[in-house]
Amino acid sequence: MKYLDEYRDERIARGLAEQVAAVTTKPWVLMEICGGQTHTLMRYGIDELLPRGLELVHGPGCPVCVTPLETIDKAIQLALRPDVILVSYGDMLRVPGSSSDLFRAKAQGADVRLAYSPTEAVKIARSNPDRQVVFLAIGFETTAPANAMAAWQAKREGLTNFSMLVSHVLVPPAIRALMVSESNRVQGFIAPGHVCTVMGCGEYEDLVRDFRVPIVVGGFEPVDLLEAILMLVKQLEAGEAKLENQYVRSVSYQGNVPAQQIMKEVFEVADQKWRGIGAIPRSGLRLREEFGNFDANRVFDLGEFTVEEPAECISAQVLQGLKKPTECPVFGMRCTPENPLGAPMVSSEGACAAYYQYRRHAVVS
């Protein structure tokens, strides 16, 4: 398949891995931000191809994982109302809130529907004028334009039965939060290619300058990741800190400007809680006042409440790259994808779930 096979080519990948080994003289700690990248690393065993001492730690870029428990509880609460159709991306359905998940709500009679695109939710609202349709709008900058488009479209059509439960997170403030943390170990970042396809590279310049940390925008296939790792190690070995773009076939410096415009028109930057990490200032998006009628929090008067994560979950350390999932005492024992105790185990893109899915034999044997 074009644009895939060449990026999964074993020969090219091995060649890159050899180059990485050849240029690496010291131990380095790199972080890939996106859960999709973590997934690829585990699936193809890329870390096994790297020289000893070159450590990859896994970042917080799994949108499903970092969606706060409170948002999931609200979604379940809404879904259980007889007048509501709750529409969600597929992998949110199994994510546990504090006492249930959307699949269980569905079994209790809730009308929960899976969509591939938020515009499907608008379509459902249009054809069910007597029901309230709520879209669970989560994600990073990648899904924000499409989610914004849904609100924009609903407003233009004057729909009064459509709203969104928004939980949007932004990558650059999360990197900043990691870098200012006293316990930070990360020396170079692979920035998320899909986020940068939308946002461009520019907003990472400040991070590179402020923290003198190399950042390479990377893709999602094995060859992409190995190339990004090579670019980072070369910079680190040379004592450089630059912003580079490995994922040139998708990411331009400016990004997708019309997509950014619709995001800005519909959303504004706000403080945001991340599941497993906590609150990060100005790290999320909320609907602007002009779109307040489409905010499910207002439409349904959901109120605010706080839910605590189980104390034994070490997800905060995993999501900051301080610990590997397998260092958690309950990994694979009391915490599994079926019964996750915390954020990184809930979605297949979460770091703990990726280790569990692809690597637990290494732990067992």
Partner: protein, 353 residues
């Protein structure tokens, strides 16, 4: 009770999820939840040695004659899809479950649960299709049942078929018979049925020309059994795909199964659709493929027999049964690294990005 009034104790831990008081869709997915349902609800109550084998069919001995019995219900949506419909599927599915026990399928029953208002023309098309499929497979529908449920109490049409066939003497096929050194054979490319169905589903607006692989496999099996009786186990990887089937075998035989990624054939269009939807073809359903676990020495003969049959022309040895990692399926990736091929909890869910 609103979440705001919950006590801290109730809120402090999101898992384990509360008592399993409701059946979830995932309980029908063929994954871990299905296995749990069978283990916790059905087996303890209905238990007997034949059921406990948990094979696709039971082999019973009646007056010295070994008979294979199986049953399957079909709830596919849409009812008509490229490469088949619920009628042909109901024949192929049950014929295949018999064939996986090495049996020659003979007779089927067919039970129809029809929703009030269902178009008669569609029902006729389904019955015609069943007839064609049965005739081609050399089986007869010899008894049946019809129930009509009120509008809104069914989903158009459900069909159950039960089949019986004759099982050859001296042949013991079961998922608990895989042994280290055995080879894993797969009869062709994977994922076509699942993707053909998904492509037709409401709300998924992408076009493909992928056809379901729905087919009756018993003549393919007959050829394999002519080659050797050194086959340990056969399964058709339907719901949950190749991964779930192999995980079941690994668990029931307490062996490890190691697959070679590059040996597993996935059509370009299926790969494309899976990439787009964030699915893994190893978990996508097939309706005309089989997996056989064969003793090392007989594997080549079985493979050649399969390749002579049109439904096995692309058959390959895709892996080996190992002593290491009992109960787990692992895969040697194209990069020479190893990963687990896990059994899913429920249905495979499309990823957000």
């Amino acid at each position: 009770m609103s979440s705001a009034t919950k006590t801290i104790a109730e809120l402090s831990c999101p898992a384990p999820l509360p008592a399993k008081d409701k059946v979830l869709l995932g309980h029908g997915s063929g994954g871990k939840l299905s296995a749990e349902l069978i283990r916790d609800v059905f087996l303890p109550v209905l238990n007997n040695p034949m059921l406990a084998r948990l094979d696709d069919q039971a082999i019973v001995n009646i007056n010295g004659q070994r008979l294979a019995i199986t049953t399957d219900s079909f709830v596919v949506k849409p009812l008509f899809f490229p490469g088949g419909d619920i009628g042909s599927l109901a024949v192929h599915g049950t014929v295949n479950d018999l064939a996986m026990g090495g049996a020659t399928p003979l007779y089927l029953s067919a039970a129809f649960i029809i929703e009030e208002g269902f178009p008669m023309e569609q029902l006729r098309r389904v019955v015609d299709s069943m007839h064609r499929a049965a005739t081609e497979a050399g089986v007869q529908v010899v008894t049946g049942d019809t129930k009509v449920v009120e509008r809104g109490k069914g989903d158009g049409l459900f069909i159950n078929t039960t089949g019986i066939g004759i099982a050859p003497d001296g042949l013991e096929l079961s998922a608990n018979r895989a042994r280290p050194g055995d080879k894993v054979l797969l009869s062709g490319s994977i994922g076509e049925h699942g993707i053909a169905i998904l492509a037709q589903r409401e709300g998924l607006e992408f076009e493909t020309t992928i056809q379901s692989d729905s087919a009756a496999l018993h003549t393919l099996v007959a050829g394999m059994l002519e080659a050797t009786h050194e086959i340990r186990c056969m399964r058709d990887p339907t719901r949950g795909g190749v991964s779930s089937t192999l995980n079941e075998i690994a668990q029931q035989s307490q062996v490890g199964i190691e697959l070679e990624e590059r040996r597993i054939l996935v059509r370009e269009q299926v790969r494309g659709a899976c990439e787009m939807l964030g699915l893994d073809p190893l978990y996508v359903a097939n309706e005309g493929k089989l997996i056989a676990i064969v003793a090392d020495g007989a594997a080549e003969a079985v493979l050649q027999s399969m390749q002579r049959h049109p439904l096995g022309a692309e058959a390959r040895i895709i892996g080996t049964v190992k002593e290491a990692n009992p109960g787990l399926v692992t895969m040697r990736t194209a990069f020479g690294t190893t990963r687990i091929v896990d059994m899913l909890a429920g249905d495979q869910l499309p990823r957000i990005c």
